[in-house]
Amino acid sequence: MTDASVIATRGLVKEAGGRQILKGVDLAAARGEVVGLLGKNGAGKSTLLDVLLGFALPSAGDARVFGEPSQNLSAASKARIGFVPQQDELMSLMSGAQHLALAASFHTQWDHALIERLAREWEVPLNRRIGTLSGGERQKVATLLALGHRPELLLMDEPASGLDPVARRQFMVTLLEIAAETNRTILFSSHIVSDIERVASHVWILREGEIAWQGELDQLKESTVRLLLRAEAEFAAPLSLPGQLHCELQGRTASVVLGDWSAERLPEIERATASRAELVPLTLEDMFLAVHA
């Protein structure tokens, strides 16, 4: 682990109810990265966040945040983290403003100006009781609560799921502003692939408790492509090319998703399959589906 790692896990295992939810996960996030954590329901996204936050203990392996074991974070490190849970724990009889005043009193530093600006931009009705707010409005209050102390690491579990498209876009821009201005690190889980595709610099794809892919989003897009192979004769058997994630045959055409693509491979693949290849770039959603096929 380098000093630059804000998050680092090694062989992280989490068991619950006799089942392995995380099966030996190695991950690292550096300062300034916006990491999109992508996975189907039950893939282990929330569990991973719980372990990083110290809410759950690793069953085996190691999870470190700011270089400290996550189950044993110092108060100073905890103060550098902000968290927006999937289900907020706001009290229905209190107003957003009261929640914010309470949160501010817990922290030695609180950026009132930032919170006032965001509350205005996001049109959060701070003076109404939480119980009278919509799901999206509650989510905005919960996010403000996590941002006021200007955390260096922001963890969010499905942060934009309750927001309409306009509010989501606004929310994503704010995330980018936060990440760009202060070189902070953001890890957010989502199954809204298009949000991740827009704002993330890095992607972690969890599949059944294992990391199916992690790295730069740009690199993922460059190294994962679909090749449409058209041959003279029908394909007799499914192809198995190096790095192949998925293959579909239909007569003389094969559609192959490759996970370690580089342009130099084209002639060799065309020769080996006796076909002419057409390259189709994949969107993140296509890749997500190919990884799960």
Binding site: A180, E197, V199
Partner: protein, 126 residues
């Protein structure tokens, strides 16, 4: 100034690279023209700043853009304002190759492809 599609299979930095190259090659971005800052461009398009900054760094390494202290990046002076026609044409070769390939796979005649391009060219000029 730019069209960036985060939901394309082509990484954003690559889209930006190609667009800046084309705008400079065609002279629409002239020597000394200022480019938007990484932050402004990222926020305007709601995309991650890292991918924008990667494009700018690569363009700087290519000698196309110049980094200026405390000022926006500009189109570098060393370069001739407008590339030769041959070099501009070369930049289109990969897309053209793909187009030809697709046309062959669809078993279209060369003439039919020409007609299509002519029609698109005309309609775009209106």
């Amino acid at each position: 100034m730019f069209t960036l599609d985060p939901h394309s299979g082509v990484p954003i930095y690559r889209q930006l690279l190609e667009q800046v190259r084309r705008l400079v090659a065609s002279g629409q971005l002239k020597v000394g023209s200022e480019l938007p800052s990484v932050r402004d461009l990222a926020l305007a398009h709601a995309v991650n700043p890292m991918t924008i900054s990667k494009a700018y760094s690569l363009l700087e390494a290519e000698g196309l853009l110049q980094r200026n202290r405390g000022r926006p990046m500009t189109v570098a002076a060393r370069r001739r304002a407008i590339d030769s026609q041959a070099s501009r044409l070369k930049q289109l070769a990969p897309q053209a190759r793909q187009l030809v390939l697709s046309a062959r796979q669809l078993e279209l005649e060369r003439k039919e492809l020409h007609t299509l391009i002519d029609r698109l060219w005309e309609s775009d000029n209106d």
